[in-house]
């Protein structure tokens, strides 16, 4: 069949082809529209009636994460959870430069410190829940060698020689938690404890300051003044081992001079 034949064929069946094309076109176009309409109808959630005032807690809740996002989500309560103390991040004991605090920061640091003590020199209360029975659990975090970081903080370490029974002197600040009864005896106290003495005195600018507190029960200077200890009172030269070589204690704080006390009257 040559081109004549083809033209002749289309001429001959023009009417029929037009009807077929029209039919296909209508089907395709309507198919597109039907398809679009059906997709929209399938993904739309069922109609819901929302309350006019949504419950207040709903606004404070974070959106639920997708499963795949969970490991990367930042708000998880247990994000820093570790089952063994060894796995906790450790403090880098490398000497780091101290950062000078602003006056406000310093005041905040000292206020936080004072709130745990009845007076300067009193054993601090415990700001967290404790194991009521075992002192060993205290030492896991507060021992002299412990240097882990928990929730961004390094636990304080013993400032005094090791005594076995920690809770003899250090009691929880909020000891009974949920066992605390609403009706209970609460009396205000007018006790004004000895305040933080501030920096020690210097004979002249650049002279080593004297120790502005008692030494007894604070024999371990590094507990508060060592590297990586919270700012404010950190030593700039922790590598010097013999602190009292340069920093003289103040007899007034050790209150030695006014109290008569003679040796025992029975020979040992």
């Amino acid at each position: 069949m040559d081109s004549h034949d083809i033209e002749a064929y289309f001429r001959q069946h023009r009417r029929t082809l037009a009807v077929i094309l029209l039919g296909v076109g209508i089907a395709a176009v309507s198919g597109v529209f039907v398809g679009i309409r059906q997709t929209a109808a399938d993904t739309k959630p069922p109609e819901m009636e929302y309350p006019i005032d949504p419950p207040s807690h709903a606004t404070g809740l974070p959106p639920a994460p997708k499963y795949g996002e969970i490991p990367k989500t930042g708000w998880l309560a247990n994000e820093q959870w570790s089952f063994t103390l060894e796995n906790l991040p450790q403090v880098d004991n490398e000497r780091e430069p101290g950062v000078a605090l602003t006056e406000e920061e310093l005041a905040a640091v000292l206020a936080a410190r004072a709130i745990r003590r009845a007076f300067n020199g009193a054993p601090p209360t415990v700001p967290h829940e404790i194991d009521q029975l075992s002192s060993a659990s205290c030492m896991a975090c507060h021992g002299p060698d412990a240097s882990m970081v928990i929730a961004g903080r390094r636990p304080s370490s013993l400032s005094h020689p090791y005594y076995t029974s920690c809770t003899q002197c250090h009691v929880p600040a909020d000891g009974l938690r949920r066992l605390t009864d609403e009706e209970r005896l609460v009396v205000a106290s007018a006790f004004m404890g000895l305040e933080n003495p501030g920096p020690g005195s210097r004979a002249y600018p650049g002279a080593p300051p004297t120790v502005p507190h008692q030494i007894f029960m604070r024999q371990n200077c590094m507990s508060c003044h060592g590297p990586t200890r919270p700012n404010a009172i950190r030593s700039s030269h922790p590598d010097r081992q013999n602190c009292l070589q340069c920093h003289a204690p103040d007899a007034g704080f050790d209150n030695r001079e006014r109290i008569p006390n003679h040796p025992p009257l029975a020979e040992p």
């Binding site: 106290s189 006790f191 004979a203 007894f216 007034g252 109290i259």
Partner: protein, 795 residues
């Protein structure tokens, strides 16, 4: 250094100093050290009987700091949390500052003159129906003045200390064993012993400094063994090498089992017993008395024979192996054993018996009289020994270990006080439980106590069975309650007259601790408002009685019985408060009391020697060179100067007058209120580390209150589950005497076994003593706060 160099150096230093001064003034920050302006002085701690010495820092008339006294032999610089916060007890904002009289049900402020007059007139109306109720917190001079007023002045023996509720049984134990009160050993034993046995004694909470003194030896590498004989797990248990959990009351059987094993194994110390001991038992078990009758060794052996480990295991619940371990330790002559106890043995319906038995096993095994070998009772109050026991502020006692029933003892006191013969009444007064029972009984029904003066204690919370022994006073219009205290308490709630008192370092004082150590301190701050010294109140009331014409307020020569003179010999009217401080009345009373201590060889140190020390242990004996020497180990020749040379050990106040101590046999007997179907639990009460006694002082220290703000009931998890009780749930606890709503603490600080409950007694709002039992030891009259039957349900 050459002259020139030296001059230059001086100039340079001067310049440097000047520069420093200028820079300080300019900068303003580098102020003078804050130690300036603080005055430090010594005082014994106000709380328990351990007798730690603290240093008190005072600035501008207020206590601002406390430190452990590093030179004090008792605590060596260490304190417990109460000790560090003892300064805070002075400054609760509800301190009582003015005398108050109840009019139409309301306490109204009155003057001191009125208050003293009212008190004296009430006494004057019926002196024989007046009683004084004090405590082991009385200072020695306070107790001595009260003692002299009532026994020497009013010829009345109704004086008791709350120590009756606390260590009366230790006294009867010591007296019936050694013939004289108070421990022979001392705290030095804790430094020397190989084994420490705690008989129902939660030492890490109740005597924490002593506990550390012993237990810290372990962290220094010493080999020591701690045995915790208890009825519930406590903080002490966590440190113990052996925890022996026995059924309440079966301590009697356990002690007998140790004796049985010593004899059966032929391991008792024959030489020690043959030379220094005798055997004794109650003549009639239904009517036990203090002295009993002598028995021979064969009789003793027969009676203890039934307490085999197998049988005692059934009674006590201890495994046979643990009982054998105790037997092994006492049988080993090389092991040094110290036993300590406190309320667990003393608050017991068979308290005298268990005290005797523990002394007995130490004597039988020869574990006595050398450092590290001692049976030592601990006291819970700072001067239970010093005032209650030594001054004898008990209804049957006179100062220095004397008894009102003994004519020669009365005569000695009358002579010493320059009183006419026969002034002191020969009949003992009412013991504590009876005194309060009589006070709470209508006069028409035989309630023969009408007026009580309460000093330095809080019976409205600390007596057992409070409905019966305290609250029943309400509505009895002819009964009059005078209360001297520092804060409003459960006792002042029913008081008719309230006297505001000076507290601790607001007054001079002398205390005596558990190891025979007498401790002195001076007043360091002023009391608040119109608060005044208890000793002044006693003297002022006596003087008012004198003015009202009570004949007993005069001595043989017509002088006032509290006559004090200054250095020039002129009488000082110390009952006038503005003249009270002209002389040291404490010292005058102490000096008057001291010679009375010589009879039983309890020689106290002179006041001037005491004030130079952090306490001294009696007998403090003058040496040939005029110096004084204290005694650590009583009855032992190497240390006690009253033991005859060559005797080794000598019990020179023996009840049998032959230098021997008594080894008692006392049987195991069931408790009068054992749990039953209706009340299936044992209820035990006690203290916690942070609070002391009824909490009136410690609840006013924010740090201590924060640690334990209220009481609770400890319960075993299985018992809780069966009763549907969850941790922190409100429960109703009931005994035959009352009920109380509390929170339940499961797996808390203390962990009672199944069938046992524990409640601390410091809480003023939820008073557990409304539920406790007033049944008491027939000999010591001390009630049992440690055991009664209870039931519990979810509220």
């Amino acid at each position: 250094m050459s002259t020139l160099e030296r001059r230059t150096f001086l100039k340079t230093s001067a310049m440097a100093a000047a520069t420093a001064a200028v820079s300080q003034r300019a900068g303003g920050a580098a102020a003078a050290p804050a130690s300036d302006g603080i005055h430090w002085d010594k005082a014994p701690c106000r709380f328990c009987g351990t007798g730690c010495h603290v240093k008190v820092g005072v600035r501008d008339g207020k206590v601002v700091a406390i430190a452990g006294h590093p030179d004090a032999e008792v605590n060596k610089g260490l304190l417990c949390v109460k000790g560090y916060h003892v300064g805070g007890i002075l400054y609760g904002e509800d301190r009582l500052k003015h005398p108050m009289l109840r009019r139409n049900g309301v306490l109204e402020r009155i003057s001191w003159d009125e208050a003293i007059d009212i008190a004296a007139r009430k006494i004057m109306e019926a002196p024989e129906r007046f009683a004084i109720y004090g405590s082991g917190q009385w200072t020695i001079p306070e107790g001595y003045a009260a003692q002299k007023l009532i026994k020497g002045g009013l010829s009345n023996n109704h004086i008791e200390p709350n120590a009756r509720l606390c260590m009366a049984s230790a006294v009867t134990g010591f007296i019936s064993t050694y013939g004289v009160d108070e421990p022979a050993g001392c705290y030095d034993d804790l430094d020397a012993c190989d084994v420490l046995i705690l008989w129902g004694n939660n030492m890490s909470e109740m005597h924490p400094v002593l506990f550390s003194r012993f237990y810290d030896r372990k962290s220094r590498g010493e080999k020591i063994t701690l045995i915790d004989l208890g009825t519930r797990r406590t903080r002490t248990t966590e440190f113990a090498d052996h925890y022996m959990e026995f059924r309440p009351q079966s301590d009697l059987a356990i002690a007998n089992c140790i004796a049985q094993q010593l004899i059966e194994r032929d391991a008792w110390d024959k030489e020690f017993v043959e030379k220094h001991c005798a055997f004794r038992a109650d003549a009639d078990l239904t009517k036990p008395d203090l002295m009993g009758v002598a028995i021979d060794f064969e009789n003793y052996k027969q009676r203890v024979a039934e307490y085999t480990p197998e049988k005692v295991s059934e009674i006590s619940g201890l495994p046979v192996e643990q009982l054998r371990l105790l037997g092994d330790l006492f049988a080993d002559p090389k092991v040094k054993i110290t036993s300590t106890w406190c309320m667990g043995m003393n608050q017991h319906t068979r308290a005298t018996a268990i005290n005797r038995l523990v002394h007995g096993i130490h004597l039988l095994s020869g574990k006595f009289g050398s450092p590290g070998n001692a049976p030592t009772s601990l006291t819970g109050q700072p001067s239970a020994c010093g005032t209650a026991r030594e001054v004898g502020t008990l209804c049957h006692a006179l100062p220095g270990g004397r008894l009102v029933a003994k004519p020669e003892h009365r005569e000695q006191c009358e002579k010493h006080w320059n009183l006419p013969a026969g002034r002191i009444n020969a009949t003992p007064g009412h013991h504590t439980v009876l005194m309060w029972e009589k006070f709470c009984t209508p006069t028409a029904e035989g309630g023969d106590i009408r007026t009580i003066l309460v000093q330095v204690t809080n019976p409205g919370q600390s007596l057992p069975n409070l409905h019966k022994l305290f609250r029943a006073k309400k509505g009895l219009d002819d009964k009059f309650l005078i209360v001297s205290d520092v804060y409003p308490t459960a006792t002042t709630e029913l008081a008719d007259l309230v006297l505001p008192a000076a507290l601790w370092v607001e007054k001079n004082g002398v205390f005596g601790n558990s190891e025979r150590r007498t401790q002195q301190w001076f007043k360091q701050v002023e009391p608040p408002g119109e608060a005044r010294e208890d000793v002044w109140m006693t003297i002022a009331i006596a003087r008012r009685l004198y003015d009202l014409g009570h004949p007993g307020m005069k001595d043989k020569d017509g002088n006032f019985i509290f006559r004090f003179t200054d250095d020039a010999g002129n009488e000082v009217p110390v009952w006038e408060y503005d003249r009270f401080h002209e002389i040291n009345v404490d010292r005058a009373l102490y000096d008057d009391y001291r010679p009375l201590t010589f009879l039983k060889h309890k020689h106290l140190a002179p006041y001037d020697v005491l004030k130079e020390h952090t306490g001294l242990r009696w007998p403090v004996v003058e040496q040939s060179d005029g110096s004084f020497r204290e005694t650590r180990f009583r009855f032992s020749e190497f240390d006690d100067p009253f033991v005859k040379k060559g005797n080794g050990i000598e019990f020179y106040h023996s009840t049998t007058n032959d230098g021997r101590a008594q080894i008692w046999f006392c049987p195991y007997e069931a408790h009068p209120e054992e749990p039953d179907e209706e009340f299936p639990f044992w209820l035990c009460t006690g203290r916690v580390l942070e609070h002391w006694h009824t909490g009136t002082m410690t609840m006013r220290v924010p740090q201590l209150r924060g640690a334990v703000p209220n009481n609770y009931v400890e319960i075993h998890p299985d018992d809780a589950r069966e009763a549907g009780i969850g941790n922190g749930d409100k429960v109703v606890l009931a005994t035959r005497r009352g009920e109380l709503e509390l929170s339940a603490w499961i797996n808390g600080r203390g962990r009672p076994p199944r069938g046992s409950l524990f409640v601390p007694f410091f809480d003023q709002i939820r008073q557990i003593n409304l539920l406790t039992l007033d049944a008491h030891c027939p000999i010591s009259k001390e009630p049992d706060y440690k055991k009664c039957a209870a039931r519990i349900r979810k509220a």
